[in-house]
Symmetry: C2
Subunit: 568 residues, 2 copies
Amino acid sequence: MPQNIVVIGAVALGPKAACRFKRLCPEDNVIMIDQSDRISYGGCGIPYYVSGEVNTLEELQMTPYHTIRDAEFFRVNKDVKVLARTKVESIDRQAKKVLIRDLTTGETAELPYDKLVLAMGSAPNRPPFEGIDLEGVHTCTTLDDAQAIREAVAAGSVSGAVVVGGGFIGLEVAVSLADMWGIKTSVVEIADQILPGFLSGNMVKIATHDLRKNDVDVFCGEKVIRIEGENGKVARVVTDKRTIDAELVVMAAGIRPNTEIARAAGIELNERGAIIVNDRMQTSDPDIYAGGDCVTVPNLVTGKPGFFPLGSMANRQGRVIGTNLAGGDARFPGGVGTWAVKLFEQNAAGAGLTIESALREGFDAVNVHVEGFDRAHFYPEHTVMALDLVVERPTRRVLGIQGTSSLGDALVARINAVAPLLQNKPKLEDISNLEVAYSPPFASAMDIINTVANVAENVLEGRNHTLDPDEFAVMWQNRESGSCTFVDTRLASNAESLVEKYPGQWLSIPLEEMEQRLDEIPEDKTVVLICNTGLRSFESQLIMNRHGRKSLSVQGGMASVTKQGNEI
Amino acid sequence: MPQNIVVIGAVALGPKAACRFKRLCPEDNVIMIDQSDRISYGGCGIPYYVSGEVNTLEELQMTPYHTIRDAEFFRVNKDVKVLARTKVESIDRQAKKVLIRDLTTGETAELPYDKLVLAMGSAPNRPPFEGIDLEGVHTCTTLDDAQAIREAVAAGSVSGAVVVGGGFIGLEVAVSLADMWGIKTSVVEIADQILPGFLSGNMVKIATHDLRKNDVDVFCGEKVIRIEGENGKVARVVTDKRTIDAELVVMAAGIRPNTEIARAAGIELNERGAIIVNDRMQTSDPDIYAGGDCVTVPNLVTGKPGFFPLGSMANRQGRVIGTNLAGGDARFPGGVGTWAVKLFEQNAAGAGLTIESALREGFDAVNVHVEGFDRAHFYPEHTVMALDLVVERPTRRVLGIQGTSSLGDALVARINAVAPLLQNKPKLEDISNLEVAYSPPFASAMDIINTVANVAENVLEGRNHTLDPDEFAVMWQNRESGSCTFVDTRLASNAESLVEKYPGQWLSIPLEEMEQRLDEIPEDKTVVLICNTGLRSFESQLIMNRHGRKSLSVQGGMASVTKQGNEI
């Protein structure tokens, strides 16, 4: 007798699980239920629809082969029945049926199931600000949201916008509004940094500077108090520190799992309301599977429950559920949190823990920051990439990696090489020996991914005494105190302009001349060595070491100082 | 008492080992010996110097911070002594000294060592063809070679060139000569494919077509018999199949380890003449280390001895040797063979075994070929990438991956994600679940790297009945036999021109209409389904399956057919 599979939710995981199952069990019945008739869309594409890079909403609903994935598509091509504009009111686990309500007619009905899939996804947080319901305040999750925002900006009536939340969606939307529509955009983030939990300190500064340089205001550690309107339309956003004029507000202040019906049915949730599943994506009820934004899966770096609301996770989990519905034994062990985001000139990407999250998790961790070429330095089209590596000090275990680069694919090529290893507790030497594809147009013989591990080892062993670019910035700001000597180890021609600008404060001693000119460096001051990326200053430090002289080398050098927007 | 370290060879591994050691043990003595005074250069950059993309030879000898790495550089910056234009005649392991000869004066001397590093690299094969010593016949390993080739082409006297050998260097030089100098270039390769052992069949066809389309002739399975000259200069190359006019011949027919002095000293070599080392890079004499092109290290996929003559391997091994010379315990477990090469429009990259090498190694293996977008299909700047995955059938172990793409960084981002896993015997499901950095500008929610594993699973389980593009090409060539029906499952507008060109032979049944129009497909013929990349044809096959009809879906679809240069 054919099985009845009911899938609640038809955006990402639901359709994947349904179609995978039908491929394996073409004789069985699958019904997919969604509150909207806009189903099976690429929600991650919404910022690119807002920007206009994606022309029509239909493109987000299309297969790669240009067919709209609507109810008819699923019926004809997949033999999956879709109940659109239908809400699941409750799940009766004893009777194994769901109570549904047609949102158009209001009629209710019962639907029996043998196996149930919970794919309800997540909903954007809408904090109860005064003014949250004004016209012009949008969330950014559904195609309806996308359409509303695009219509507002296309109408030309928006000259200022506020994005509440500096996570992925918030930043992507901010870039879209500012870059493609020329709208003065501000990001207000309650945490003290953008991309909290994803990006380490050095990279945060690079990313933030990239946004600011491109006329996006970034206000971190700042709380929205209320939204003020005029004639029912949003007019300004009031934070605890300022008032920002805006005709458009996009709420991107996090999401929460859509798990009310699961909770009501007695399915086990964690304290944050996410459904707990095993590695077969089964809930506490073995006939009920769940995945995507509404579940928690293990964070394979910390071993604790993780929350990875990403379309890529949903798709892979959906396939696992489809296989298991058909009696297979597919596993989804968890995730390490691999991500990427495109800003203006810079792209950022990472995997695993940031230094801040590693310390918070109780690891005795250190962060190493390097700037280096993304391919052979003699190959004409090389670019300087920045990488941060987070390492547990006593074990030398690599906990995470983040980077920024103007070339996103090249950056992702390094992040992807480390990400799949993170769950196996790689050691620094595994990254030192990492075998990435080499040829001068694609990598260096000693690639930056190997270098960042080598530098980390030198730092851990006390062979490389470093200074973060922002520590350097503070010391430079306090230069009048006279406690530091700043030595530029680049070629004299590179140092020239700063030597002229800061006579007596900025010394030029190129690496090549360090040995001869050591006595020009005062012995009673902290010596700060700087160069373009940190290589010359490290080499200079080694020469000083050989003569019993101590120094600090600025990690990432002028490249990082400049990218972080520090004044010098 | 300070140790004396002697390093034989100063190109890649030698300097790396020497400098790493000096950082750890600044009080000890290091002497580095080389037959040339052109030392520590990026040999992998030679093709880009030949092309002119790298302007001067000095750029290949520079650090990333623009200092020439000559003997003086090593003395001043690294406190490493270099004996250039000096040959090591022999090693006396009992007395722990090497006999050296100054190549300028002819004087000999003895040099004692506590530890010795063998970094002699490799030499290009020069088969004893008639005419091999004619003017205009060059190898392509040293900076002297590079200079000679560039001078020849820059003089404008070369209108035809033959590259003997279709490996990495051969192809890179062929591209340089043809692309940047407009020289009619032919590659003659004795094996039946270019990049033998590195690239699987489907990818070979794509890469070969890219070369031919750009006016590089590729003659595989063809043997050079002799080189003919006029007035002492090369005039043509005679193979077993043709005569090719050429004023320039580049010998890139493989390399052999430079291990004569090691052999004479009784150090253990393998049957191919490479030095055997343990995972600390020690030879059979524990006071003698070796690495780079002159050693064999384990192939971590096969478990057998491997040979990876790559600058990237040499650099990483050099660091391990430097650490161990200083009393450390660094390990270099081996390699899986990760590589990349830039051609014309296409780049190729891979790791692990090809299908051909897997079968030769005795694996019951299968190759799966997919074409797919390298980022979200709705993101405007997507490109179609091709991937081949080699899988052991009974265990589902992934043995290797290769790909081609017009965007090299995007391709390498996928190869790098799989390469570091290969040594751990990953299963298909590890690649299905592989967590690569996702965001629409960088990847798909179900990324092509996950897709290739999913397709492989479907093929292995008999759920996806496929045809390689070249199998399709053969069937299409024999279409007059009438044994096959060719069904184009793309939108009618895409199929139109072929339907007109081949009336009655090329059927257009778009996926959307497959269910209704099934009876148009004859039941007594082999049904071949094709689309753009293989997705629509697979979906069409599923519909046919549901109606009990069999079919074959062309892997990679028209994308592969076109890239492989098949006529249709």
